[in-house]
Subunit: 295 residues, 4 copies
C-alpha cells in the first residue's frame, strides 16, 4: 500500500483497552468552537466523518441509519405532524429527515453550537441536503434548555439529538426533572418525545437502561429501540416516550402509509425495519427489566 | 493507566484503512496447527477470544449471540431434530446449542482441525460447556467435504459453521455445486440447511448476497438473517435454506414452544429476537434483490 | 487523559512490523504539491513537524541536530566559503546554518518544490529564521539536476539535502555518474561535497554503505558520519567527500575557530560533537569495509 | 502482507502522545514474577526482546550496544579487574561482557528477581552465552541493597544495571546517600562505579543530569556517556564515577590493549567507539552544567 495514504489516523478510544483506528484520507477541518473540539475528516470506508471531542458523531456512509431511526418511528406514530422540535442535531440530518414529510409544516431546531451548524453547511452539505434552506425550517442557535423554558409552542414530536447524560458530559444537566417537565409541557396531546439514548451493546447498556427507568416514571409508554451504526462501532439505542402512543406497536399498515408519504428514497427505515428496531434480544430486555437508580 | 497492562495489543485489520485494537490481558496460547495460526487471548471487554489467522472467531462475552443465532432458528423450524450435522464448529459452542434440545438424539460434528478442538477443550471450556462429553455428541476430526461425500445418514438440520468463500480462503472450494449436491443429499425431508454467510454491513454485504443468490437456485426458501456481533465489529449474516420451511415466517407460538424445550437459559434468542433477526433493513433487501453472478 | 487530545495520530511506518505513532495536537496543513504529499503538524514531544509522503522530514525540536551536522563539518573543513550550493533543503534550515558564517558571501539553494518552500516560510518560519530574506541567499525553484548541468559557478561546499536513492524514490536518478560528474565540475579546488546519506542503524545501513562505496571511486576522502535524530527514530548518516580535505581528521583548534565565527548560538555542533559524529562503532565500520555493488 | 503475521503488537508507550509499535512474531513467555510483569517476544527487526512492566529491557539485535557500553569503558579504566560486582543484570549479558576479560577472576552478580534470571537462561541464552556456567561467575538471587550492606568484599568495578530512580519506580530507594555510602565502601582503591543512568535524549535528559549532579558530590570524576540504542528508541546514558580515574580521558592505546585482551569478537566497543561515547553534544553538556536539586 502506498505509504503516503496511511500516515494519518483517527483513533477512537472506546475504553483504555479498545481502540478503533481509521486511516484519514483528508482533513477538511480540525479546530475548536466555543463549546467543543470539532473535526471533519474523510476515510475510505465511512466517507466524511464528523468528530466532536474525539467521538464520532456521524459518517456520510451510514448517517441515514442513525437519523432515519431517530426521526421516523416517532413521526409515523403521531397524527399531527405540523410542528416538530429538534433539540441539538447540528449537522442538519435530523432536520432533513423530518422535512421529508410534507405535513411537517414547521420544524424548529435548537442547537447551542452555531459553529458546528456552519461547519456542517460548509463541509457536510450531504447531511442537510438543502434542509437548512427549507422555508419550513426554523434554526435557532441557542441553549435548548433555555429555549424549552421560554418557548410557548407545542409540538407533535420532540426529537432530542443531545448528548446522553454521561458522568462528565456538559449535557448531563439536560437530563433532570426540570427539563423533563419543560419537555412534557411542550409536547402536544398525542405527541411523542423521542431521544437518542446511549448504547445498547452487551457491555455498555446500563446508561440506556437508567435513562429508560427514569422516563418510565414520566410517560405511560417508554419504548427502547436500537440499530447497529457501524461508524459508532456500537448498537445505538433510542427511547420513544408518550402517554398515548405505543410506538413499538405501530401497525405495519400505518408505517407503510407514513413511509409512502415521505419525499425521496429511504435507505434504512420502513415497516420491516421498524419491526427489527423494536424487537429486542433477551439480554437487553433483562437489563431493561432490572430495578435501579434513576436520574 | 498502569503502563504494564497495555503493552500487548491484538490488532484486527478489517482493511488497510480500518483497524480495531484490543489490549491483551493474557495470552493463553499462540501457535500454528497443521492448518492455521491460532491464538487464545483475554481482553477486558470481550473476555477470552479465539483468533484464527488474525481474525476473531468468537469471544467469551458475546459468542452466544452468534451461536444461538446460527443454531436455533433452523432447529425451531424443523419437526424432526433427532439427527443434526455440524460442519466445522471447532469451539464446541454450536454443538452445545444443538444439544440443549433433548430431542436432538445425535449431533455429529466434523471439523478438520483437531488441534483447534483440543485447544478449545483446554482453554475455551465455557464455549462447549460439557457438550463434547455428551453421549449424543459424535465429534469427527476430518474433512467436512469428504465426510459429506461418504456419509450415508440424513439430518433434519445441517449447520455449517465453515469459513465463508472469501477469494483467498481455503474454504473456497467448499462452496460449489458438488458440495451443494452432497449437502442436499444428506438433508432429510423437511430439513433445513443453515450456514454462517459472511457479513451484512453496508460496506461488505456483496459476498453474502452472492451466497444467497447461489443458494436460491437450489432451495425454494433461502432466508437471510443477521445479528450484530460486537467482537466481530460487524453485522454477521446467515442463510436458512429449505425446500419446505420458510424459517423467516415461523409463528411466534412455534418458537415459544421450541424455546421452552431448551435446557438452560438463553442469552439472545427467542421469538422476539427471531423477529429482529429476520427483519432486514432496506439497504440489505435492495442488495439481496440485485441480479449478479453466483458461485 | 482528555480523550479529545488523542484523537488524531501520525503513524510513521518504518516497515510492516515497526510503527511509531505521534499524537497530533494540530494540523497546520495537509495537502499535495505538484511533487509530493506534504503535511505540517504539531506534536507534544517534537513541536512542529514537516512530513512528506508519510516520512518525517524534520521537527522543530531537533532539526538543529540534523542541519548543524549536515552543514558545519563541511564548512569548517574548507578555506574558501564565499560560495556555497545547497541541493534541496526546502525548509530553509540548511540555508540558515550556512549563512551563520559571515564569510559565506552567497548561498545558492535549488529546490524543485516551490510549494514546500512557500509552506516552510508560512508555517515553519523557525526553521529558516530569516534566512530566505538574507541578501546573500539565492533561492532557485527548479530541478537541481538541470541546474548542475547548466550552472557555470564553482562552490567551496556543495551540500546535498536530497532524498537518498531509495529503490522507488524520484531522487534515484539523482545518484548516478552523470550527476557525480556535474557535482565535481562545480566543486572549487579544496572544496567539499557533503550529502545526507541514508541511515546508519544496525538494521538499515546497507544503502549508506553502498553510497559510500560509490563515492569512494570518485573522491580521495569519503568520510561517513552520523547523528541520532530522535524525530527520525534513527541514526542518520552523512558523507563528506573531498579530494583534498579529510573532514574526519579536522583539528579541534580549526573547528573551535570556525565555530567561534558563527553568528548566534549552536545547539549541537562544536569540536567535541565533531569527534562524536566521525567516531564510528565497530559494526558500522565493518559494513563500510565490505565490498559490494555500487550505483 | 499476510494478515496472520500482523495480528499481535507490542506497543511501548513513551508518553501519552508517543508510541512505538512492534509486530510480534512469537510470544515465548508472558507472565508475572514475584516482582514484575515479564514477557519475551520476537519481532522482525529486533529479534527476541525482553519486556518488563511494559518497557523494553534489551533486544537480541542490539543488546551488545548497551552491554558493551555499560561494561567496557569502566573495565578498560581500572588496573585490577580481579573482582567485579554487578547490581541487577538479570539477563546475564552484563556478566557475559565482564567475563570476556580473563583477568576478571570473579564476577559477582546480585539480582532480586530469580525468575527473570531463570527465564533469561531458558529463552535468552544468546544474552548470557554460557556466562552463567562460567566458574568465575557468582550469581546471587537477592536484594542488591541488602547485599551491599552486608558484603565485606571490595571490587575494582561495580557495575549497576538497576532501574533508574524514576519517580514511581521500586528502584527509587536504591538511589540515596545510604546506598552511595555502601557502594563506595565496596569500591577498591582505583576502582570505578559505573551505572546505567537514564536517557540523554533532548526531551528527557533531566533525570540523567540530576543523577550526575548527585554523584558529583561523591566522586572526583563523574563522566556521562551515551549510546543510541534502537530498541530503546532513545539515547541511553551512563555514568562512570571514580576518585582516581577519568574514564572519559582514557588513552586510545590503553583501550586498544584492553580490547585486545577480550575473548571473542566485539560488536560495538573499541577505542574509536569510546571517543564517540564520551564526546557529548552541546545541548547535553549545557544540561549537565546546570545547577539543580539532587537525590
Amino acid at each position: 500500500m502506498p505509504k503516503t495514504e496511511q500516515w494519518q489516523w483517527y483513533v477512537e478510544r472506546f475504553s483504555p483497552a479498545e481502540l478503533h483506528q481509521h486511516a484519514i484520507e483528508e482533513t477538511y477541518f480540525a479546530g475548536r468552537t466555543a463549546f467543543q473540539n470539532v473535526a471533519v475528516i474523510r476515510t475510505a470506508t465511512f466517507g466524511k466523518m464528523l468528530i466532536i471531542d474525539g467521538d464520532t458523531q456521524s459518517s456520510q456512509a451510514d448517517e441515514r441509519i442513525y437519523h432515519e431511526t431517530l426521526v421516523h418511528p416517532a413521526l409515523a406514530a403521531i397524527d399531527d405532524r405540523s410542528e416538530v422540535l429538534i433539540l441539538g442535531g447540528g449537522e442538519g440530518a435530523t432536520l432533513r429527515e423530518a422535512l421529508r414529510r410534507p405535513d411537517v409544516r414547521r420544524c424548529t431546531m435548537v442547537d447551542i453550537d452555531g459553529e458546528v451548524v456552519a461547519l456542517s453547511k460548509r463541509y457536510l452539505a450531504e447531511w442537510s441536503d438543502g434542509a437548512f434552506d427549507d422555508p419550513r425550517a426554523s434554526v435557532i442557535v441557542g441553549d435548548a434548555l433555555a429555549y424549552l423554558k421560554e418557548d410557548r409552542g407545542t409540538y407533535g414530536a420532540i426529537v432530542s439529538d443531545l448528548t446522553e447524560p454521561l458522568a462528565d458530559s456538559p449535557s448531563n444537566p439536560l437530563f433532570c426533572d426540570a427539563v423533563f417537565d419543560d419537555i412534557k409541557r411542550r409536547l402536544a396531546p398525542g405527541g411523542v418525545y423521542v431521544l437518542q439514548a446511549s448504547t445498547a451493546g452487551f457491555h455498555n447498556m446500563e446508561l440506556h437502561a437508567k435513562m429508560a427507568r427514569t422516563l418510565r416514571g414520566r410517560y405511560r409508554f417508554v419504548r427502547s429501540f436500537y440499530a447497529h451504526v457501524p461508524a459508532f462501532d456500537n448498537d445505538w439505542a433510542f427511547l420513544a416516550c408518550s402517554d398515548t402512543v405505543d410506538v413499538a406497536a405501530l401497525a405495519s399498515e400505518r408505517i407503510d402509509a407514513y413511509v409512502a408519504g415521505l419525499r425521496g428514497e429511504s435507505y434504512f427505515y420502513d415497516a420491516e425495519t421498524h419491526r427489527r428496531l423494536f424487537a429486542l434480544p433477551i439480554y437487553l430486555r433483562r437489563e431493561l427489566a432490572k430495578e435501579g437508580d434513576v436520574f
